[in-house]
């Protein structure tokens, strides 16, 4: 083989790997549901996205240029793709861990978080949601009533009801790049048995901006 043939073979092999990389990325995009169009509501909110020039750029120019770039500089594209996949996995694991804390709030509630000793009837009266337009269930905690009811079922004779407030980590947003940096002030109510919170319910989360 002449050096020219070796060079041509190397370039061809490089481009073939680029095409394989592109195909793999397209498959992942397709599996992730990213190929579907945007909704009518979004279009109505942002009419500038409906112009022919914008559509051409969005649907033709950008995908073609991106595909070309992936084939030509596929090592860089593969590196970016791997980083995105790793970040998605990390976010998913972080989300599951933080959701577990919200779903089982008693894990995170300690005595120092307790604020006020209350009665169950008092809490229900204070947190009763009554909307004049009927856009929420007329019940204590409204849409969150099911969670409250399951907490009430865990009450035993002699238990005390306390309000609590604490700061904890929240699951990352879909549009967040900084996993674990989202924190929120959580307010709710806890069942205290033997001076120890044994079950709790979070009814309000306010994100704390750092």
């Amino acid at each position: 083989m002449t050096p020219i043939e070796v060079l041509c073979f190397a370039v061809l092999a490089y481009l073939c790997l680029g095409v394989i990389c592109l195909a793999q990325m397209l498959y992942r995009q397709w599996r992730g549901g990213y190929w579907h169009g945007s909704s009518e509501l979004l279009a109505a909110l942002h009419p500038q996205r409906q112009t022919p020039w914008y559509r051409f750029r969005e649907r033709v120019l950008a995908p073609v240029l991106t595909a070309l770039a992936i084939v030509l500089v596929w090592p860089r594209a593969a590196w970016i793709d791997a980083r995105v996949a790793w970040r998605d996995r990390r976010d998913r694991l972080a989300t599951e861990s933080e959701l577990a804390e919200i779903l089982h709030p008693s894990r995170g509630v300690r005595r120092e978080h307790l604020r006020e000793h209350l009665t169950r009837a008092g809490i229900e009266a204070q947190e009763f949601v009554l909307d004049p337009l009927g856009a929420a269930p007329a019940a204590p905690f409204g849409l969150l009533n099911a969670a409250w009811t399951s907490l009430v079922e865990r009450e035993r004779p002699g238990d005390e009801w306390w309000s609590f407030e604490r700061v904890g980590r929240l699951p990352p947003h879909n549009d967040s790049n900084d996993t674990g940096r989202r924190t929120g002030r959580m307010r709710g109510y806890a069942i205290v048995r033997g001076r120890r919170p044994v079950a709790a319910f979070i009814c309000e989360i306010t994100e704390v901006r750092s």
Partner: protein
């Protein structure tokens, strides 16, 4: 990062754009992951909500988003949130939300008649506690050229006395 699509806040019949996402605390409180996925770079959170202030209460009246593999427009004509809140398909009272909403839009001139150009930018800041408005402030920023009270340069180039 690509500029993200803004949610809509309707106040007194006017449509403003806001950066806050009052639906996120709902996912946290319900202990669920957001069912929406990013399908387009300018909407990484995967959905766009339409909110309305009625009688000092915050309501979710429209929602559009992309679910895992299926694009589903949740906004049936004038707004339906049935997919996330099947018992309240028209509107749902956002009693879970506590925070500050900052919305922006054009400030209409005079009575805001059709075809009348806006006189500037209107910013509305609404403090919400458990879905109820506790404070609302508003400011209108008028560009110097459009502000009739702003000092104008004299023909000679200096400011008028």
């Amino acid at each position: 990062m690509t500029r993200q699509v803004l949610e809509e806040l309707r106040i007194d019949g006017e449509r403003l754009h806001m950066r806050a996402h009052p639906l996120e605390p709902w996912f946290d409180l319900a202990g669920i992951r957001s069912p929406f996925v990013c399908a387009i770079t300018w909407n990484r959170r995967g959905y766009c909500g339409v909110w309305e202030l009625v009688s000092d209460r915050l309501y979710l009246v429209g929602l559009s988003g992309t679910f895992s593999n299926v694009v589903q427009d949740l906004n049936f004509s004038e707004g339906s949130v049935a997919t996330l809140f099947p018992d309240f398909p028209e509107r749902v009272f956002a009693h879970w939300y506590t925070g500050t909403l900052q919305a922006e839009g054009d400030a209409p001139a005079g009575q805001g008649g059709i075809g009348e150009p806006p006189i500037g930018r209107r910013t509305v800041i609404v403090d919400v506690e458990r879905g109820r408005v506790v404070r609302r402030t508003e400011r209108i920023e008028v560009p110097a050229a459009a502000d009739p009270s702003a000092p104008r340069p004299s023909p000679a180039g200096g400011a008028r006395p």
